[in-house]
Symmetry: C2
Subunit: 399 residues, 2 copies
């Protein structure tokens, strides 16, 4: 939020919630987990005994094998205050910035950067469209229009081959030979589980490098839990490794681990993780939950798609009305909802959570078609036009 909030500190949570709950805080780096002794050792030379330990070591940004990315002025996404302050300081002097990666991080940086006067912003994505990991192309295209309208130089389908410059970066060279001038480069191409500590302690890692956990977030050692980006995720539909790293997933896992530390109070159904995202570009909202049409097909599912295009208020001549576009993906044989994508105004941020709830409860197209929902002229589409219902109807026509 480089434009929206004046200082990085404005976005810091602080330690108050910990203090209120009488939790001791040690700011230090853990260098060893000894599962036999049940101790952890820190860089500052301290040692702590544990009864139960929860690994929440997060993730590290992926550094692609591209020449020159170690130059000054290249910023992978680190959530550290000093680092963010430096980036912000650098940004205030830069005349041009390049963002590498057209996922959520990339487009939100591009949106925020584009509001900074005098800064020329470029966004480079290897794939032919933005957001292709979470959205079908027709949704990414809507963001592309928005981003371009904000004056961002959008470069799709091009590979970055070098960060050029002396000590500091001065430009980004593409595989077509062009060099985009850049005093500052942001790298947003994803992250990998930070599971080195667990690996050294002999815990099992999944194929994607995440720490293997059971239904209750326990590793193979029942005294050691792992949650968040460092823990392995299993897909809700296929149980395959899922490279999803979301704060909302992490908090859900934290609640399970917290409730299961000393006793398993609740039998947890093995549901797996669904990816549920939302993003915001210049007043417009995109949300995705579950599988995209492309991902579902790639996984081998036979699917049928339902579409709806409606208005966010009714009648549509009410001030502030915007278009809502909704796509639902159903399993063809069973009619079960597998995924959804929405494009709309602010309300789309919660519409995607209705879809998320429906996926988690395995709602069918025929159930959605007769969904009982609240509608209101100022707040939603008309009752005859409610997008989830219309999209379900459109899918049923093809089932």
């Amino acid at each position: 939020m480089f434009a929206s909030l004046p200082k990085p500190e404005d976005n810091a949570m602080g330690n108050a919630p910990l203090e209120q709950n009488k939790i001791d805080l040690e700011v230090d780096e853990v260098i060893k987990l000894d599962r036999e002794q049940k101790t952890i050792a820190t860089k500052a030379g301290k040692k702590f005994f544990y009864e139960k330990v929860i690994l929440a070591t997060g993730s590290n940004p992926i550094m692609p094998p591209v020449k020159g990315l170690d130059k000054a002025g290249v910023y992978p996404i680190l959530k550290e205050m000093g680092y963010l302050k430096e980036l912000k300081e650098k940004l205030s002097k830069a005349k041009n910035a390049v963002i590498i990666g057209g996922g959520f991080i990339g487009i939100e940086f591009a949106d925020e950067f584009s509001a900074i006067r005098g800064l020329k912003v470029s966004l480079v994505e290897l794939l032919p469209h933005l957001l292709l990991n979470s959205f079908d192309p027709e949704f990414g295209q809507m963001v592309e229009e928005k981003i371009k309208a904000k004056g961002v130089n959008l470069v799709l389908g091009k590979k970055v081959v070098e960060a050029v410059g002396d000590k500091s970066v001065t430009g980004i060279k593409l595989d077509d030979g062009n060099v985009i001038p850049a005093a500052l480069v942001v790298l947003g191409i994803g992250a990998r589980p930070s599971s080195e500590l667990a690996k050294q302690a002999g815990l099992t890692l999944g194929r994607g490098g995440g720490i293997c956990v059971d239904e209750y977030m326990r590793t193979l050692d029942p005294a050691v839990f792992a949650i968040g980006d460092c823990a392995e995720k299993k897909d809700f539909f296929t149980r395959r490794d899922l490279p999803v790293m979301l704060a909302s997933t992490a908090t859900a896992e934290a609640r399970v681990a917290g409730a299961s530390l000393f006793q398993l109070k609740v039998v947890r159904e093995n549901k797996g993780t669904i990816a549920t995202y939302s993003t915001y570009v210049d007043g417009l909202v995109l949300g995705s939950a579950g599988l995209t049409e492309a991902t579902a097909k790639k996984e081998g599912f036979e699917v049928v798609v339902g579409l709806a295009e409606v208005t966010s208020k009714h009648p549509a001549n009410l001030p502030g009305t915007v278009k809502i576009k909704l796509k639902l993906i159903f399993s063809k044989q069973s009619g079960i909802l597998m995924g959804g994508q929405v494009f709309g105004g602010l309300s789309a941020g919660e519409i995607i959570n209705i879809i998320g709830m429906a996926i988690q409860k395995r709602v069918s197209a025929t159930e959605l078609e007769t969904l009982q929902m609240a509608t209101h002229p100022y707040l939603t589409a008309a009752p005859t036009q409610y997008p989830l219902v219309l999209a379900a109807q459109s899918a049923i026509g093809k089932l």
Copy 2:
């Protein structure tokens, strides 16, 4: 929308959707349904044969047994263009207006009327709080503050005993003897099913006067369907008669009837009706789905309540952040969600639909506690503060 949209015509749907679908439209009044001959007769003397007939005769406003309500200037809620134009015309000349009834209709009229310059608006409600049929008192109180802040003279816990005046109404007399001056009176105290035609045709009516229908919206005569306000509703939790009249319920019923006219294509689960509403007062939104705490207790359910108060964006210093207050009602033994109420910004209009979906799929508190949801700084509460999850947690603490 007397202030928000300039003309009643702006809110009319028109006949285009019918014409597009090649549906013949006869504007006339049906005076007889002959189930033996399979005909309907109209006031204009026409007769139509039918294979199947769908009764969608709607509802009529309740006229309380109060003296003088037949005077000119008293307006029950009729959805007729000429009538609305007359009301709007009258309104432009009136100096004071009284709204009788503090439900959704009443508060939305009060909100719209209060934006009209030079009009003194009073709202009279018999019960001690606004919206008591759909919300627990603490939510109605929030609307009371809003309504009062807009300059509305709010009169709670008082009964209207007479509409005074000569031919035209000039004031509303209360049971404490006070008379509120009124050149215009709006009556919004509810409606009754308009089922006279069905009754005359020998069809069964429920205790509330609605036409009895089965799972597929068929009356006892399989050639006659009934949908919307004129059809009986059964409560989702108790299967008792439910006096709910919502456009969203009606459209869901219409879809079931439409799909079931000649063949029952889908086995429909007997779910019953849940009341899901949202309303909007001066930028703030209230939503309710399922049972309130008071209604659930009155029905004999042992319940436990979960509460959450969070902000609509995170961090809360982002511009446009408002408070969200959420209440969830769970069955104490089973932990199943029975109802929810939300107060917040525009996003609350869809938050209530997440709750509605959760009720319809019988989600438990422990499932909600680990709900996977999309969160975003501009669009939702923080992942650690997502209101449905927090409220579920707060309930689990009491289970």
